[in-house]
Symmetry: C2
Subunit: 200 residues, 2 copies
């Protein structure tokens, strides 16, 4: 009996690379009334959402919805410390792994990602902030890194500041750096650089 060669099957077209899962999750964001069971309230705006998605992505939401907390009984989460557009971007990340407008929101999103322990979103914000790092904003980003950033991110920003220390130390943003720990880490980095130079 003839065994048919591969070329005989060339006619079929399948697109297995297509990620239906991602599309289906994004669809939930676009049709938010399908099975929503919680509302996020920020500054008078209401964002319907799904406890399962929030909990699946954030251990903080998971804990909130696993216990008899007020949020879990009223099905409302009030967020006081950020803006509606930041919460909207956080929800976009939660449902789709993407944030379409991250650049102007990276600072505020980093704080929210830290609060809700959204590791992937935190990394996205850190990369965006690192891209925009310059002498005149390095002091500000160093303080943000210290408050909300991962330890990798803090190390990277300290590395950048020590590499451009002469310029950065004169900036207004650097005047605002008021963490003893960060200033000591920066001094260590500068001293290590000096030692490397002396040995070179």
């Amino acid at each position: 009996m003839a065994i048919v060669t591969e070329t005989a099957r060339a006619g079929i077209t399948c697109d297995l690379q297509k990620h239906h899962l991602e599309e289906d999750c994004r669809q939930l964001l676009n049709e938010p009334n399908l099975f929503t069971d919680v509302t996020i309230l920020v500054d008078g705006q209401r964002f319907p959402a799904h406890k399962l998605f929030l909990a699946m992505r954030s251990p903080v939401f998971a804990a909130m919805f696993s216990h008899k907390l007020k949020e879990n009984e009223t099905n409302e989460v009030h967020i006081e410390d950020t803006d509606p557009e930041v919460v909207q971007a956080m929800l976009e990340f939660i449902y789709t792994d993407r944030v379409s407008n991250i650049t102007p929101l990276a600072r505020d999103l980093l704080a929210v990602a830290d609060k809700y322990n959204l590791v992937g979103l935190k990394t996205m914000c850190e990369e965006k902030l690192y891209e925009t790092l310059q002498t005149d904003n390095a002091g500000e980003i160093l303080m943000l890194a210290e408050m909300y950033g991962s330890s990798d991110f803090v190390s990277c920003v300290i590395g950048f500041v020590s590499d451009h220390f002469r310029d950065i130390v004169q900036t207004e943003a650097f005047d605002e750096v008021n963490s003893v720990e960060i200033l000591k880490r920066l001094m260590d980095a500068l001293a290590a650089k000096k030692r490397r130079r002396a040995h070179a």
Copy 2:
């Protein structure tokens, strides 16, 4: 003030390609007790699941859980017409877009994917069946395609059968082909081939 070049930022490592969403969805499959709200029962086995995920992926489940059907009130879905391992593979697809062991299950999964209108799973099964298409199973796959397959898949299998008609017509599997519609479509394909040869 110095503008820092790209090379100065080479230190940071971020992996934005990593799909946290897919991992987080897969996690739900591995820790099935987190917020599960429905159980699928097959042949005495119980699979805890989430209505939201089933509904997000399958319009049939979406309809089931949107109305006052028995399944939605008892939070149990009884599936009678397939095996536990097929349901487990279907759940793996629903939560992860993948099926780790598709080859031996492709026939049964195609039927389940058709029943619950899981388009991506259907395509995966069709591609797998098309890969295994040979003269001695072509009749069987033609019948499967007619019962459960997409119209593209039916066309592809008919193309294959008409290309290897002389061998396939003698097989036992072809004896089982008992659909008038399919036989007529096959005859059309053979006649079209003859006409093309006559014109060549």
